[in-house]
């Protein structure tokens, strides 16, 4: 055996000759490293749960309590999005990933869209108290909170803040609070609530893009 065959061997590993464009491959690898496919499945499960609660009337049809279960599921969907912010590579990826901020931005926006779509699909044909607009607004706002939380706790524990705020909103809902910063309990046409939710989402998105979630190598998953 000579070294000729070795030298002539392709640098591309076997089985990967048919390659996608680098951008798509990079995006796919980024999404896989964040368990985004699993996240989409979990969001679909949230949509299915919403449909089940509405179809089988597991929740109230009217009154303040009728808003609770959709709000819980919206907060849960946002928590799932926030959890996908976690990276298993940490510092290495940050040092070498030039496109990383854009990928983070893209992932968060895309998953928020998927969450809204999944929940709205779950509510199609059923009576949803306060309608799908309030649901979309809540997903946006809770996601912003989750992304902000990921800067402090890391992605894996970023579900804590959206869920905690949702529990507080239960109290605000029953006490009929009207402040715009209690946006999850406001009617869908409330402009102040939309502004608050959108600002939180925008700030969360911006900081996640620029800074990225806190990384803890000991919590690789």
């Amino acid at each position: 055996m000579t070294t000729t065959s070795v030298l002539e061997q392709s640098a591309v590993p076997a089985g990967t000759e048919r390659r996608f464009p680098a951008g798509i491959r990079l995006t796919w690898l980024h999404l896989r490293s964040r368990h985004v496919p699993g996240g989409i499945l979990a969001l679909a499960a949230c949509g299915a749960l919403l449909r089940a609660t509405l179809y089988w009337h597991w929740t109230f049809n009217s009154g303040p309590y009728a808003q609770l279960v959709p709000m819980i599921i919206a907060a849960g969907a946002a928590a799932l999005i926030a959890v996908t912010a976690h990276s298993p590579f940490g510092e290495v990826e940050r040092a070498s990933g030039r496109w990383l901020p854009y990928l983070r931005l893209f992932t968060a926006i895309a998953l928020t869209g998927v969450a809204i779509l999944a929940l709205q699909s779950g509510a199609v044909g059923e009576h949803l108290n306060e309608g799908v607009l309030a649901l979309a607004r809540n997903v946006i706002g809770f996601t912003g909170l989750g992304l902000l939380c990921s800067l402090v706790t890391g992605g894996l524990l970023a579900w804590i803040l959206p869920m905690g705020y949702m529990v507080f909103c239960e109290y605000a809902l029953l006490q009929a609070w009207r402040a715009p910063w209690t946006w999850p309990v406001r009617p869908p046409a409330d402009r102040g609530a939309w502004i608050c939710a959108s600002v939180i989402f925008a700030v969360g998105l911006l900081l996640l893009t620029v800074i990225g979630p806190r990384t803890q190598l000991s919590d690789d998953s």
């Binding site: 699993g38 949230c46 597991w58 309590y65 849960g76 799932l80 869920m163 507080f168 998953s221």
Partner: protein, 524 residues
């Protein structure tokens, strides 16, 4: 290590390490904030009655603890899988169950500690304002069992599905389950339009197993003891689930092996591994005991019956002692010719009630059927809702903590204290002017136009608000063609009379007024 330090037993050392490294303490500030806004402020809005205030433990506190207990337990349970150390720790000499139990115990210790601290805050807040009774313990047991079962559920989910989505999914699942249970419970315990009593659990006995339910009657646990039957059933049911899942954790390694065992021979080998048999036997026993306990709880809930005092009785658990009335001498305050008495549990508003009723009692003192005393009675008696009214000889105005006249469900916490006092006065006047022949109905006493005019005049004479049409039951129906303007004019005329003249006219015409034969024009 210093020579003075005391060596702890191995499990205690492991637990100490677990307590130090557990993530729950970092969560406590957020939990405290949610607890303050949701539980503490809600409790502060209730009257300082122990049963009322304690109802926030299963209704509010358990909800907020469930979110974090489920999620953080799933986080702790998924640690080995998340960090991909399952194979590494499997080679240790300790059984997997012992290892998992330490992690579970650490999480549970922190959560229960936080929960009990929260209970202490609620109870201290209540003790500072309550005038009678003591802290009920069954809501605490139910709440603590709820925290335990949610923690075990979350931990088991984390062990078996150690992914990044497990914790939030458990939190969502626990919350939605809580809401479903709450709705089922309200479906059973919701009062009807004319009753504050719940309906029997004919269709959905599982609703009774939900710790979250509606607020109890304001005087629940005041006149009669609250039977612990339902709380015991809930503890049995939830405790059974927790025990069964703990047993399943003991089988976790075996179940994993079975799940991955390929072929009959390897499966047989996985089952027949001799090293873990004692553990597995205990685990199977725990699963069986837990399932049996939960099933027993469910079966017991199906036998629940309403008691005459508005509570739930489960025959297999019921003690006749809990049906006895809780005896307590009433708190009373007297003014010349009139006495106001309330249960000592409601002693905090005795003087407010007396301040509201004394001037009115003085206006009608000495008239036929005028009460010499106002006394608070139980809101449920013999299975029926008690309405306010005047009864007995000498006449006594009886009211309940739930109802005074047409005031219902807003007995405490009205934003306007003057309106609250006015409702008491109107309740007394309606009962007095309607007379003993007209029994009070849930819809309110029906007064005629002349009676309304006289009532408004008497209220104006003591400087109180006149009766609004909505406050006088269906009086508009009885008032016939008389307009509001005519009634107001008659009321103004009568109020303008000297007190002695009003009293003399009432003494002469009260029987006719009660009979409805006096017209507005006949009022001086």
């Amino acid at each position: 290590m210093s020579a003075m330090s005391v060596a702890l037993p191995r499990p205690a050392r492991a637990l100490r390490l677990e307590l130090k490294r557990n993530a729950v303490p970092y969560l406590l500030p957020l939990l405290a904030a949610v607890f303050y806004f949701d539980t503490l402020r809600t409790a502060a809005g209730f009257p300082p009655i122990w049963t009322q205030r304690a109802s926030v433990i299963p209704n509010h506190m358990l909800l907020e603890f469930s979110v974090f207990a489920g999620g953080m337990a799933a986080w702790a349970g998924s640690r080995e899988g998340r960090r991909k150390t399952v194979d590494l720790v499997r080679t240790t000499s300790r059984a997997a169950w012992a290892r998992l139990s330490v992690a579970l115990a650490g999480t549970l210790c922190w959560l229960l500690l936080a929960f009990l601290a929260g209970v202490a805050v609620v109870y201290i807040q209540t003790a500072l304002r309550a005038t009678w009774g003591g802290p009920p313990l069954w809501p605490v047991f139910v709440g603590a069992t709820g925290v335990v079962v949610v923690t075990v559920v979350g931990f088991a989910a984390g062990v078996f599905f150690p992914g990044r989505f497990t914790a939030p999914l458990v939190a969502i699942g626990v919350l939605v389950l809580n809401q479903i249970g709450f709705r089922a419970a309200l479906g059973i315990t919701a009062p009807g339009p004319t009753s504050v009593l719940p309906s029997p659990p004919t269709s959905a006995p599982y609703g009774l197993l939900s710790p979250a339910t509606g607020a109890p009657l304001i005087d629940a646990g005041v006149y009669y003891h609250v039977a612990p039957d339902l709380a015991i059933t809930q503890v049995i049911f939830m405790g059974g689930i927790a025990v069964a899942l703990f047993g399943v954790l003991g089988l976790a390694v075996g179940l994993h092996e079975l799940a991955w065992a390929g072929g009959r021979r390897r499966m047989r080998a996985a089952i027949a591994r001799s090293d873990g048999w004692p553990y597995r036997a205990v685990a199977v026993l725990l699963v069986a005991s837990g399932v049996a306990a939960s099933w027993t709880g469910l079966a017991l809930a199906g036998t629940a019956k309403l008691t005459a005092t508005g509570g739930w009785e489960i025959p297999a658990l019921h003690s006749a002692a809990s049906d006895q009335s809780a005896s307590a001498a009433q708190d009373c305050t007297s003014s010349p010719g009139f006495q106001v008495c309330v249960h000592p549990a409601f002693g905090f508003y005795l003087h407010h009630v007396a301040t509201a009723l004394d001037p009115l009692a003085a206006e009608i003192a000495g008239l036929p059927g005028a009460p010499v005393r106002a006394t608070e009675v139980a809101s449920v008696s013999g299975g029926n809702v008690v309405q306010s009214g005047i009864a007995g000889n000498p006449p006594v105005f009886e009211f309940t903590a739930e109802r005074v006249g047409n005031l219902f469900g807003e007995f405490y916490g009205l934003p306007d204290p003057a309106a609250w006092a006015s409702e008491f006065q109107q309740g007394l006047l309606e009962a007095f002017l309607a007379g003993p022949s007209q029994s009070a109905s849930p819809a309110g006493t029906q007064l005629g136009a002349a009676q309304l005019a006289v009532a408004d005049a008497l209220l104006a004479a003591i400087g109180s608000q006149p009766m609004a049409p909505s406050n006088s039951g269906q009086s508009a129906l009885k008032s016939g063609p008389a307009t509001v303007a005519e009634m107001s004019a008659a009321a103004r005329r009568f109020a303008a009379l000297p007190a002695s003249a009003r009293h003399a006219w009432l003494a002469a015409h009260l029987t006719a007024l009660r009979a409805g034969t006096i017209t507005l024009t006949q009022i001086p």
